[in-house]
């Protein structure tokens, strides 16, 4: 599920539909958190900015 892009510096959370603001232009693949529902979101496109729920942590993820 992806979110509806709104403006260049904001986007709608695909989980709760709250406004997710960006202080600066995000990068492709950037991970952000929804200020309302705390869902972890990933920037999947830049033009326009599109957010999707970040993938679940996999077994081999880490430091």
């Amino acid at each position: 599920m992806s979110a509806t892009p709104t403006t260049a510096t904001a986007c709608t959370c695909p989980e709760c539909e709250a406004n997710v603001p960006f202080a600066r232009r995000p990068l492709q693949g950037e991970v952000v958190r929804c200020p309302d529902c705390s869902a972890e979101l990933e920037v999947t496109a830049l033009d326009p900015i599109t957010l999707e729920l970040a993938p679940e942590v996999q077994e081999d993820w880490g430091e």
Binding site: P26, L27, Q28, G29, E30, V31, E42, V43, A54, V57, Q58, E59, D60, W61, G62, E63
Partner: protein, 310 residues
């Protein structure tokens, strides 16, 4: 000089590293590991890079991509050997033990019944850890036989093949904190202590970070650990230490894709800048080598002029 930054997710750490590279006007290319593909007989498209800075969250993706790029002669930070040494706790423990570096006792078993025997022989409490994984996930402190049977059965039944490897570590009764030392090359540059009321003190699990002054003993331990894990040149490493009740530091884990967002303000050290220094130094060497090789094989040019006229 051109640097590739291989990533899967741009977290705070990657953002800080990218900003640091951009601040220095480095020719930077962001490489999404999910888009990575390479024809192994044709390294040409990758020769544009003087180094690739690996920052993936998936160890499998990181190791695979880096192995390919290394085979093309491209320096990767960290190298695949370091990723593999750090990414598997058993491999880490074996390297530490072989090099005489203080580390908790570990037993390994490959069968549930044998694992229970090993736990009993080691004595309670013990800590069961997945050999691969991080952020304090699926750690289990086992205090008695009942808990041991339950955990071993769960791991055998629910886990992947990896959970069939039983990595059993002695429980170190640490003083409410553990330490993390950031190492660049073989030099410890900063350290934090992580405190938690819970026995798991990872900041990913809610541990609170504060700056820690590196002692000469810990400095020496971390330098030796870096050399054991990554050779004389070292690597970019975050070394986790536990302290015994007597205050003796033990190397618990070594991390190859260090997370440092909570450690810049707490230590006062610009960790991303130091990491970038290290990467650029490696890239610079490759850049200079390539330039000298190109000069060596270039056809000699002669000044034109009249020839053979006596």
């Amino acid at each position: 000089m051109r640097i590739g930054l291989l990533y899967s997710r741009v977290r705070v750490e990657e953002r800080l590293l990218i900003e640091e590279l951009e601040r220095r006007n480095i020719d930077l290319e962001l490489l999404d590991v999910n888009k990575f593909q390479a024809e192994i007989h044709d390294p040409t498209p990758w020769q544009r890079f003087d180094a690739v800075f690996e920052r993936c969250v998936s160890q499998t993706q990181a190791t695979t991509a880096v192995r390919v790029l290394e085979s093309f002669g491209i320096p990767c930070i960290n190298p695949s050997a370091v990723i593999e040494a750090c990414g598997d706790k058993l491999t880490t423990s074996l390297i530490l033990a072989r090099n005489g570096i203080a580390t908790p006792r570990v037993r390994v078993a490959l069968d549930p019944e044998t694992a229970l025997e090993a736990i009993e022989q080691m004595g309670y409490p013990v800590v069961l850890k997945p050999a691969v994984g991080s952020w304090g996930r699926l750690l289990a402190r086992v205090n008695d036989r009942d808990a041991a049977e339950a955990i071993v059965e769960h791991k055998s039944t629910l886990g992947s093949v990896q959970h069939g490897v039983f990595y059993i570590q002695e429980h170190v009764n640490k003083p409410g904190r553990d330490l993390r030392v950031f190492v660049v090359g073989t030099t410890p540059i900063a350290a934090i202590e992580r405190r938690s009321a819970h026995w798991i003190t990872n900041t990913a699990r809610g541990g609170q970070a504060a700056g820690f002054q590196i002692t000469p003993e810990i400095d020496d331990l971390c330098r030796r650990t870096a050399r054991a894990m990554a050779g004389q040149a070292g690597a970019l490493l975050a070394i986790d230490l536990l302290e015994t009740e007597e205050g003796r530091p033990l190397v618990s884990e070594v991390n190859h894709t260090m997370e440092f967002r909570n450690s810049i303000a707490t230590t006062g050290v610009d960790i991303p800048a130091r990491m970038v220094d290290y990467v650029l130094n490696i890239a610079e060497r490759r850049s200079v080598n390539r330039a000298s090789q190109a000069a060596a094989i270039a056809p000699t040019s002669f000044t034109s002029g009249p020839v053979g006229v006596a």
